[in-house]
Symmetry: C2
Subunit: 193 residues, 2 copies
DNA sequence: ATATTTTATCTAATCAGATTAGTTTTGTCA
DNA sequence: TGACAAAACTAATCTGATTAGATAAAATAT
């Protein structure tokens, strides 16, 4: 019998497909091993535990999201850049519902690694925001508010919490619009509280 | 040996304490049964399964949150009411981190019951918003944007995703302020898109 | 009051999934 | 080629949810 030649990346890719297809709650070592054509204990050659694997999967997700959002900002500035980044965020997360779920639930304990995985993203956001000349504190506030909105919006969409026929994209754009307006309020206030 | 006399409510109360104290991921039937002075199979007299229990716990959480937020709106209107409600939301969720976690993760499948559990809350919000004379669509957009912000903000706080010294309450208030401003933009526009 | 029914609880057993121990096989490199 | 490290396997263990069946307390009916 010839060796399959697993690597962390192959495993993570497979795990991502599973969670996106059948949901995060149905990812078990057995299911994953079956898909890879291997017995479940073999996975322990690549990860120390299921929780280890999920953590890696979470970071894998953040890195991909980071990439997509950074791409979206290329060649754009100010409102255009922000709108484009927000749209990229929404698109990615809607394509990867299961993965996004894992990204949510598995950064409980972790800090160092999550921060590392998203530092490029945060840096990009900061660069885009620098065009608005926000005070230091307001920049922090702004990033937090945007992140909260994005995070919450996707979460609620994912959980079908908007039991209504009004377009998901429309509300999203209205939300981004409101935030952008708020951003202008604080533009050039160098000494904001 | 005398019977303990468990009820769903007693069990849920206990479960809430557990998740708030030691985290949602550590709630097992064994831990819960131990706390209640009973063997774990006994819990099956009150719930059909762990997942059943978690669903009930989730609804229990939403009902409590609903109560707190509705309380906060009493005797207030417009911006005051909204600020107060948002603050109540933040306070409740920060007091009940574990419970909030369950509230998040266990409304995947459910719909009818979750909707029932939060209908009073939504109704209250609608009443407060009615003072702004929003168009029908904008009312929906607005509610969605507020919910998203709240949901996301608490989530990020809970997961220590704001790795920064700037005050959690300040950013929250800035966020609410921005949303309220956005709300005014659309006030009295009866034929909004 | 007593008999009957219901049901909360128990113990013992089963099942599924993660994990560990120990073995075999394969690939690599001196 | 031979030796070593790594990848995979089988078999066994452990934990936690769940089921089956028994017991006894409480509730209800006679």
């Amino acid at each position: 019998m010839s060796r399959i030649g697993l690597t962390k990346d192959i495993i993570l890719q497979s795990a991502m497909e599973i969670v996106d297809n059948i949901g995060a709650e149905n990812l078990t070592l057995k299911v994953l091993a079956d898909k890879l054509g291997v017995r479940s204990p073999s996975l322990y050659n690549h990860f120390n535990s299921l929780s280890d694997l999920l953590t890696a999967l979470m970071l894998y997700g953040w890195k991909q999201l980071e990439y997509r959002v950074m791409q979206a900002a290329i060649g754009k500035s100010k409102d255009d850049a922000i709108k484009s980044m927000c749209a990229a965020y929404l698109n990615f997360t809607l394509e990867h519902l299961g993965l996004f779920n894992i990204m949510q639930s598995y950064n409980q304990h972790i800090s160092q690694e999550t921060i590392a995985a998203t530092s490029g993203l945060i840096e990009t956001i900061r660069q885009v925001l620098s065009a608005y000349n926000l005070s230091e504190k307001y920049e922090v506030h702004t990033i937090r508010v945007f992140r909260s909105f994005l995070q919450g919006y996707v979460y609620l969409v994912q959980h079908d919490s908007f039991g209504n026929s009004v377009s998901i994209r429309d509300s999203f754009n209205v939300g981004v619009g409101i935030l952008l307006k708020g951003l202008k309020e604080n533009e050039n206030i160098k000494l904001g509280k």
